[in-house]
């Protein structure tokens, strides 16, 4: 369920908004008339903006409260849609906008309570008669406290929800993790066993090669004075070298047999699950494909997978949660460009996590982004891989935004197409 929500950008919000509008709006329509549909609609619309265009959510909530007050309506059930917006934005929104939304929701709540208690000539609540002004103030205070409590509860529940989803996971996530761990444990045990065998075989090889060297040295010394000894040494050298070769063959067979067993290198199709996993970790990751893909050999597909994988690892390492990252494949008739862009710096600034929040970026940052060559061990390895397919790779800081990695393969079809 949560995976489906994260895989789709707008559909979950639209479905939720429509459902809520149908239920809550319907109840409000029945109890308060057609005018109640306007604030109900606005409250439900605010749910649309829990992950995209976050600033529109508090605007919609504020407009819903204004409409409700201006129409002089009593308490509406659709106000709970506002609480749901607070909850969901606390889970999925950025720091600033989830704060703004909860404040707006509180203020809207106060205003509605004020309207109900003071403007609508309220005479009694739940059988209790409101006899004087003091009773109204007590009622308003109670309503305000309830409003704050509900909003705070929604906020806390939202944060709890996202924390649980990100760091604990669902039952199926944990089950998958356990399964993966078990599989990896078996793999590690198998690899350890193989390593032991390889070590033993290597020991034997060292022994055999050492014997060959020793015999050659001996033969070299005796050849001049005792030809018969030298010939005996040659026989020994031959048998020792053959024994070495057999040990080497065993080692070769073992290593290559295992290679076949585990040789299912990742392909381009395996990138999509990684992008989804990025979303589950809390990044706004998306993947697009432009043009018509052509078939590539395994090596080229592995190379492309490695590029995207390393770029996404870099995003995880260097950016904050909520960063948008896009993986774009541009296929041409002969080649391919892979572009991985993130807005890590922008997100960090927007979240107020950086001291440069109010400064944006400077001319120096801009210049630095233009002239500084991004380099590193991983990038160097990727460059070597990419060069095998006549490609090039470029990494750039985009001042005030984030990081871009571009891999260009102009002749990929000719080099690795099948």
């Amino acid at each position: 369920m949560i995976r489906w929500v994260r895989e789709h950008s707008w559909l979950p919000e639209i479905l939720l908004s429509l459902s809520l509008f149908a239920i809550l709006g319907g109840v409000d329509f029945a109890s308060s008339g057609a005018l109640a549909l306007v604030p109900a609609l606005l409250s439900c619309v605010s749910i649309l903006f829990i992950r995209r265009f976050l600033y529109l959510a508090p605007v919609a909530l504020l407009m819903a409260a204004t409409m409700q007050i201006s129409f002089g309506l009593d308490l509406l059930l659709s106000s709970f849609a506002g609480l749901l917006t607070v909850l969901l934005q606390a889970a999925f929104g950025t720091l600033i906008w989830r704060q703004v939304t909860v404040i707006v929701s509180n203020v809207a709540g106060f205003s509605i309570v004020w309207l109900v208690v003071f403007q609508n000539d309220l005479r009694s609540v739940g059988g209790l008669v409101i006899s004087n002004e003091s009773a109204r103030w007590i009622l308003f205070s109670g309503g305000a406290v309830l409003d704050v409590a509900l909003n705070t509860l929604a906020w806390i529940f939202g944060r709890l929800l996202i924390t649980r989803l990100t760091h604990v996971g669902t039952t199926s996530d944990r089950a998958k993790l356990l399964h993966d761990q078990a599989r990896l444990s078996i793999e590690v045990a198998r690899q350890t066993e193989r390593l032991g065998i390889a070590r033993d075989l290597t020991d034997l090889l060292v022994q055999r090669i050492s014997a060959v060297v020793s015999l050659v040295q001996g033969a070299n010394y005796t050849a001049k004075i005792d030809t018969a000894s030298a010939l005996r040494a040659l026989d020994k050298i031959e048998s020792s070298a053959m024994a070495s070769q057999q040990e080497l063959r065993r080692l070769y067979d073992m290593l290559h047999q295992d290679h076949k067993m585990t040789s299912a290198p990742p392909r381009i199709a395996d990138i999509e699950p990684i992008v989804i996993a990025m979303r589950e970790l809390g990044y706004n990751a998306a993947m697009t494909t432009d043009g018509v893909p052509f078939d590539l050999d395994e090596g080229a597909e592995l190379c492309l997978f490695k590029i995207v994988f390393e770029a996404l690892e870099n995003v995880k390492k260097n950016t904050v949660l909520g960063t948008s990252v896009t993986v774009d494949f541009y296929w041409t008739n002969e080649g391919l460009q892979v572009l991985i862009k993130d807005n890590g710096v922008e997100t960090k600034v927007r979240n107020g996590d950086s001291t440069t929040a109010l400064m944006g970026y400077s001319v120096a940052d801009d210049l630095d982004a233009l002239v500084r060559v991004v380099d590193g061990a991983t990038l160097r390895v990727l460059r070597e891989r990419v060069a095998l397919y006549e490609g090039s790779i470029e990494a750039n800081h985009v001042a005030g935004v984030g990081f871009t990695l571009s891999a260009l393969f102009p002749h990929l079809k000719a080099v690795a197409g099948i």
Partner: protein
């Protein structure tokens, strides 16, 4: 009756032993009088062969050359056996070399250094001269990332010696030959030898290299 340097070979691999034997037999000044692949039999027979130099390969069945050297060194100390041990190995590392010297080996030769070097080392070891300077062993100590710590028994032993004996030991540890020490300190050569033998006995050591490493390990320098 074998002439020249009496050499013994301990190696689990018969082909390696054959190769070594051919090299040693081709040298006119040494002969192989003992050859063994079993560690137990080596320990049993070690004292019976009056060997000058015993070549112990690091890779043995059930143990290592260094462990065997430790056992043989105990036998040497107990029976005043003068056989010198040379540890051989396919590869060399500072740790391995240092361990061999600590165990009581007088030399260490890896296969990649070649048969010429092996023969040269056997001759040097047999000459009973000082083979390693303090500086060489100190470099080895540092390369093997060893640390210096207080050696109470060595300090106490040196405190109870007369000044000339301390100087004698320090000069030997530095790598000076006995004759040079004798001339410098103006004492007879036999006193130099006696000082050295007394030190080995008191500190339960068998070789000069072990004594040098004790000085290095304790951080004791010559003035």
């Amino acid at each position: 009756m074998a002439t020249g340097i009496r050499v013994g070979l301990v190696d689990a691999d018969s082909s390696i032993r054959l190769g070594r034997r051919m090299v040693l037999d081709a040298a006119l000044d040494m002969s192989v009088v003992f050859e063994e692949d079993s560690v137990a039999r080596v320990i049993d027979k070690f004292d019976d062969y009056l060997l000058d130099v015993l070549l112990v390969e690091q890779r043995l069945r059930g143990t290592t050359g260094i462990e065997l050297t430790e056992v043989l060194t105990e036998i040497k100390i107990a029976n005043a056996n003068n056989t010198r041990i040379l540890v051989t190995s396919v590869f060399s590392t500072p740790e391995l070399e240092l361990s061999a010297f600590k165990a009581g080996a007088s030399g260490f030769v890896s296969q990649d250094l070649g048969p010429h070097y092996l023969l040269e080392q056997i001759r040097k070891i047999n000459s009973r001269s000082v083979l390693h300077s303090r500086g060489e062993l100190h470099s080895l100590w540092e390369n093997a990332a060893q640390t210096v710590s207080n050696d109470v028994s060595l300090s106490l032993y040196l405190e109870n010696l007369v000044e000339v004996e301390v100087k004698t030991l320090k000069m030997l540890v530095e790598g000076h030959q006995g004759s040079t020490v004798s001339q410098t300190l103006e004492i007879p050569l036999y006193r130099v030898r006696k000082s050295f033998e007394r030190a080995l006995t008191a500190l339960h050591l068998a070789t000069l290299e072990q004594l040098q490493l004790r000085f290095i390990g304790a951080g004791i320098r010559s003035e």
